[in-house]
């Protein structure tokens, strides 16, 4: 019974508080805007890290793998000789197609300087020489134009790369060093790493970069995700070769790790600092809310309302302000940044990659949750003060 009457009292006082909110619009507005700012900044910075992680994690499927030389930590530093490649392609765990044989693509990966459309400065784009199996290993579809012809100086360009750099329209010619390439098509790799790459025939690229019949990596599609262990064991145990086998997903997730960790650290520090700032704002707001209602609160206490419900009502008001602000900030982050396309550098191989900001539901929840925590602590001291007000002196106040 005691609890029910307490809750009833709290509800009455809260409703009373909220109805007088319009009178305190300015200071409450400041608290809401402050909270919105904190949440918007926190969520949008963390969405950068989410975006990079998602792009890297979506690259590859459970049944694809990458083979490099032992000791290499990225494609850039790997080198495979023809003998190695023959051994890899013979592995029975690799899926086979009737027309092209094993779904394994021995690839070359080189950097080329292109001019960024946004800044006019050069960036290191990735040029990948592939074999026909590559189209069946990656998530790949042509958007416009056609595939490059075997043995010809032709390039196809990933969707993001086409927007990122100057001079990559279908039909245009691109001079790289002394070689002239024709852009013949644009492809879509479904928001994964190859979207930022340029692809050509490995057989054409190798002599131009004096690679002979060596390659850097072999990408394979396995018969099933479970076949990976057998495939890996077979190649690492083979005394003829020194190879490193990774799932494609693991490989790219590892590449995203450094960058996304850094961004998460920076974002958290900014979010924490701004949060502390907003906490102070909430404290000021709630103090003045309590101060401006000193007489009302004292009157309620005189009428027999207990301290607990008064505390609760102040807390509820502060948390409502926080949730409104947090929700507003989350909405700003979501509508302003979700899907926003940007490019950054893949530090593992110093090449440019495109990604989209991703404001995930988890991030939105985190933002609003943080606002709630701030609201709770912001309201706590003013609430205690409201409870402790001596009724007699408070009533005497003007």
């Amino acid at each position: 019974m005691w609890i029910f009457s307490g809750l009833f009292q709290a509800a009455v006082v809260t409703v009373l508080n909220l109805r007088t909110l319009p009178n305190r619009l300015a200071s409450s507005g400041v608290a809401v805007v402050g909270m919105a700012g904190v949440v918007a900044v926190l969520v949008s910075i963390l969405s950068i890290a989410e975006g990079i992680k998602a792009m890297m994690a979506n690259t590859g499927s459970p049944d694809t793998a990458i083979v490099m030389r032992t000791g290499s930590d990225s494609e850039m530093t790997s080198i495979l000789l023809n003998d190695d490649i023959v051994v890899v392609k013979d592995a029975p765990e690799i899926a086979r197609a009737s027309d092209i044989g094993p779904l394994a693509s021995a690839e070359l990966f080189v950097g080329v300087d292109l001019v960024k459309a946004s800044t006019g400065t050069t960036a290191n784009a990735s040029l990948r020489g592939v074999e026909p199996a590559a189209f069946k290993i990656r998530n790949f579809k042509m958007v416009s134009g056609r595939l490059f012809g075997t043995g010809r100086n032709e390039l196809i360009v990933g969707r993001s790369a086409a927007g990122e750099y100057r001079g990559l329209a279908v039909g245009s010619e691109l001079k790289l060093g002394q070689n002239v390439w024709t852009i013949v098509g644009i492809f879509d790799a479904g928001g994964t790493v190859p979207d930022s790459e340029l692809w050509c025939d490995a057989g054409v690229l190798a002599p131009l970069y004096r690679r002979g019949n060596s390659r850097q990596t072999v990408f394979v599609r396995l018969t099933s995700p479970e076949a990976f262990t057998a495939f890996k064991d077979r190649l690492t145990a083979d005394p003829r070769v020194k190879l490193k086998v990774m799932r494609e997903q693991e490989y790219y997730a590892g590449q995203a790790e450094t960058l996304s960790k850094t961004i998460v650290v920076i974002g958290s520090i900014i979010g924490l600092l701004m949060g502390i700032g907003a906490l102070f704002v909430a404290v000021i707001t709630m103090y003045s809310a309590v101060a401006s209602r000193t007489r009302e609160i004292a009157t309620l206490r005189a009428l027999g309302f207990r301290g607990g419900p008064v505390v609760l009502s102040v807390l509820v008001e502060s948390m409502i302000l926080a949730v409104v602000g947090g929700g507003l900030g989350a909405a700003v982050a979501y509508f302003g940044f979700n899907g926003y396309e940007a490019a950054t550098m893949n530090w593992s191989n110093m090449s440019s990659i495109a990604f989209a900001f991703r404001v995930t539901p988890a991030l939105l929840l985190l933002g609003v949750g943080w606002a709630l925590v701030l609201g709770l602590f912001g309201g706590l001291f003013p609430a205690i003060r409201a409870m402790r007000l001596p009724i007699v002196t408070a009533l005497r106040e003007l």
Partner: protein
């Protein structure tokens, strides 16, 4: 001066509000310092990069190699004072996550080229004389606890030795530190001769050249003349100033500077709102007190100044403490291996102080004007 007690009294009229406003301002300026440091780290020392140094890379990409034979031809080009070759080694120390740049160089040439890397004379001599010697920046040495005299093993990722082993070992002969704030203190340099003789392939090829020129204003012409020399050769070149080179590299990381600036602007706008609101409230509460002051003979201008002084005190104390806190705390924030150690750039303190003053004036000006225009009769009539 005689108004100080009055100012003191009004500030502490509502102690809690003043203290929390002060704290909010303090946090805002700590954030400002932190963001300035992040901005500096992401710009990768572009402010420090010299215009009198050029970087020559392979025209297709930084990753392609250039012949060693270019060195003498570069040095013979009019306007060029000096040139050195650099190569990306890309070795791993214990764990791939421990990334830092390792570059084989000609020691004497490198020390001439980078006077900003300071090191005791005897360490320089020891390094030049030691074929397997290496030097490293203070920051990397501190991170791994290296001391002069240590033997440093690196695992090659690209450059295997002739016996096909991946293990390279170096003697640490010196630790350099930057003469200027923000100088890159992470790099590891060792003898090119040792590198070239021991590597399995690509002998006689280097990664890029750093070229010092006599006159920075001649940079475009000299860069063009250098590239012209090697045009139509198997290894064509592209030469830019070190500044443009670093800028392009930083741009690739993303337009972090823009994001950082928008966050600063946002945080500031919010803090401005808060202080302005506090000031406005404080003046509104004191309407009758201000009227009494005026009745006692305080001039309109004096009342304006008193209110402004109040807001500037809050901004000044909070802001300067915040900047100080940032300078103290920021260098200790861990950044992982991606960025250099953080520091608050000296120039940012100037900007910070300007912002402190701006915040104080802007947040106080409207309540102050209101207080100044207050008519005694109206104000006293209100209860």
């Amino acid at each position: 001066m005689k108004y100080l007690p009055l100012l003191w009294r009004t500030l502490f009229r509502r102690k809690v509000r003043t203290i929390f406003t002060l704290l909010a301002v303090l946090v805002a300026f700590t954030l400002f310092g932190f963001l300035a440091a992040i901005g500096a780290a992401f710009s990768m020392g572009v402010e420090l990069a010299g215009n009198e140094r050029l970087v020559m890379i392979h025209k297709v990409s930084l990753i392609q190699l250039l012949p060693e034979s270019y060195l003498e031809r570069i040095r013979a080009t009019p306007g060029v004072v000096d040139a050195c070759s650099h190569t990306f080694f890309g070795g791993i120390y214990q764990d791939p996550k421990n990334f830092f740049m390792q570059i084989p160089v000609d020691p004497e040439c490198m020390l001439r080229m980078y006077p900003e890397f300071a090191m005791p004379e005897e360490q320089k001599k020891a390094w030049i004389a030691d074929r397997q010697g290496a030097i490293v920046g203070r920051q990397t040495a501190a991170k791994f606890g290296w001391k002069v005299g240590d033997r440093i093993p690196l695992q090659a990722t690209i450059w295997r030795k002739q016996d096909n082993s991946q293990n390279w070992e170096f003697n640490l002969d010196g630790i350099y530190s930057g003469t200027e704030q923000g100088t890159d203190e992470t790099q590891f340099f060792f003898h090119y001769k040792y590198f070239d003789e021991s590597r399995q392939f690509a002998q006689g090829n280097v990664g890029w050249y750093v070229v010092r020129i006599a006159n920075a204003s001649q940079a475009p012409q000299i860069a063009a003349a250098l590239d012209e020399q090697f045009a139509n050769s198997p290894a064509e070149t592209k030469t830019t100033t070190e500044k443009a080179f670093v800028q392009a590299f930083a741009n690739q990381v993303g337009n972090i500077a823009l994001i950082v600036r928008s966050i600063i602007a946002m945080a500031f706008f919010i803090i401005l709102l808060v202080t302005a609101n506090t000031m406005a409230e404080s003046v509104r509460e004191r309407t009758s007190e201000l009227a009494v002051l005026k009745t006692l003979g305080f001039s309109d201008g004096l009342v304006l100044l008193l209110v402004l002084a109040e807001s500037c005190t809050i901004a000044g104390v909070g802001g300067l403490l915040g900047l100080g806190l940032a300078a103290f705390v920021v260098p200790g924030i861990p950044t992982g291996n991606l960025l250099q150690d953080l520091y608050v750039p000296k120039g940012s303190f100037g900007v910070g102080v300007a912002l402190v003053v701006g915040l104080g004036v802007v947040s106080g000006i409207f309540p102050a004007l209101r207080a100044m225009r207050l008519r005694i009769v109206d104000a006293l009539r209100r209860v």
